[in-house]
């Protein structure tokens, strides 16, 4: 067994903790740092509730060791809003009723961010493919797709207005 000092920047703020090598990134985020917006769903790399952006790319944080993420930057659901202003993706989930129980929502929104960062105008098929690593047990997929379409449109008009 070995313990390691791990420094990870989460939503722009640096956190340094000493952890066991076996500490999973999701436990670092939730238990060491206390950001509990990132959820643990299946614990089997299937559901995507724990999805975060690691250096800009979506990963399942239950399937990465915290030590591997040492020195890297994370974005979690808590980092989406700017102060009291919701991110367009959050606004889309609000406006289009993109959640029922809400358990999968943090992961869904982070996967949507990964997708929209690379494709500002995805087709419905591309949205469904982009979110295919995230499961919604309420099966509310249609509204989730509409939420992402809403967000894509909002983000395009926001960037066009600048």
């Amino acid at each position: 067994m070995s313990r390691h000092q791990v420094s990870i920047t989460i939503n722009g703020k640096a956190y340094t903790r000493e952890v066991d090598a076996r500490t999973l990134l999701v436990h670092f985020i939730r238990e060491e740092v206390g950001l509990t917006g990132t959820h643990i769903g299946c614990d089997t790399t299937s559901c995507g509730a724990c999805t975060v952006l690691l250096d800009g790319k979506s990963v399942k944080s239950c399937t990465v060791f915290a030590v591997t993420a040492n020195g890297k930057e994370l974005l979690t659901v808590e980092g989406l809003a700017q102060g009291k202003e919701l991110h367009p993706i959050q606004e889309g989930f609000w406006e289009k009723h993109g959640l029922q129980c809400g358990y999968c929502t943090p992961g869904m929104m982070i996967s949507a961010k990964h997708l929209l960062d690379r494709n500002a105008n995805p087709t419905e098929a591309q949205i469904r493919e982009g979110l295919s690593g995230n499961l919604c047990r309420c099966t509310g997929y249609n509204n989730i797709v509409e939420a992402v379409q809403y967000a894509a449109e909002k983000m395009r008009s926001d960037s066009g207005a600048e």
Partner: protein, 288 residues
């Protein structure tokens, strides 16, 4: 579920990683993308005492053509294959496979080298690399050596690497005139292993098949080539009858086991269907 305890090393060069592996030998395990290993560790199916993490080593993620080969660094993420114009344009078999491995989030961490080195017949790259006739490059205390892919997969989870060697690179032949390829995978849902999968890479001369290699996914105890199916095609005119004969041969020579994805007969028949479809698509692409 939390993995068992282990000692962690994050070397910054392949040489340092090899030295650690040479020192700790079978107590140590290599961590690449971790998308197979970490789930296995959480279930305590794997409990290595020492982990050697390759994620901090630079330069293992090259993806470029050199001479007549595509060089794929072992730590190349699956998503890099999807985002590569070169792969999308010139390596359709590889591009097909990259889009159906696990799910899009897993593909951001999962690596090509890890997928191959794991030697799991349920993984997609073994069949793909068998079809391409890839070359595996490994580095150990005695330096670098190459291993033909046909000699690489020994058994379930067993590869030809020495205990102190690390897979560093894969190379596949660049396309030539008349070459084409395709990967067909049947899965119950995104993220599941294949019920069956078929990788085809061929070279056509007009309507005659000059060369073909076919790899099969998850229908045998170890990654396998469908050599009988290949023999039905090489040197022959590729018409519907020849394709049907090859597909039937593949169904006959695969060796699936019954599980929650289906029974033996069903998997054999799906292998037949997928072989047929993959051959048709590969021939179409050879004309492009």
């Amino acid at each position: 579920m939390i993995p068992g305890e282990f000692e962690y090393h994050a070397p910054s060069s392949v040489q340092d990683a090899v030295a650690l592996l040479a020192k700790h030998r079978d107590e140590a395990k290599i961590l690449a993308g971790g998308q197979s290993l970490i789930p296995a560790m959480r279930f305590r199916l794997a409990a290595p005492e020492i982990l050697i993490d390759l994620n901090g080593i630079g330069g293992l993620d090259q993806l470029e053509e050199q001479g007549s080969e595509l060089c794929i660094g072992a730590m190349t993420r699956e998503s890099a294959l999807e985002e590569s114009d070169l792969v999308q344009k010139r390596y359709p078999l590889l591009a097909d496979a990259a889009a159906v491995i696990a799910d899009p989030v897993v593909r951001n961490m999962a690596t090509v080298g890890g997928n191959v080195a794991h030697a799991d017949p349920a993984n997609d790259h073994p069949a793909v690399m068998l079809a391409y006739g890839a070359t595996v490059y490994a580095e150990g205390p005695k330096g670098k050596r190459s291993i033909a892919i046909d000699d690489f997969f020994l058994d379930l989870f067993e590869n030809a690497l020495e205990i102190d060697e690390i897979l560093t690179e894969l190379r596949i032949p660049a396309p030539t005139k008349g070459s084409g390829g395709a990967y067909m995978k049947l899965e119950r849902k995104v993220g599941d292993y294949a019920i069956s999968g078929v990788a085809v890479q061929l070279v056509m001369d007009g309507s005659t098949c000059k060369d073909v290699r076919i790899g099969l996914t998850n229908v045998s105890p170890a990654p396998m080539r469908a050599k009988n199916a290949e023999q039905e095609l090489i040197g022959k005119a590729v018409d519907a009858a020849a394709i049907a004969a090859a597909a039937k041969a593949a169904a006959g020579e695969c060796d699936p086991s019954a599980d929650l994805r289906g029974g033996v007969d069903y998997k054999r028949d799906m292998t037949r269907v997928l072989t047929e479809r993959a051959l048709v698509r590969a021939v179409e692409r050879s004309k492009e």
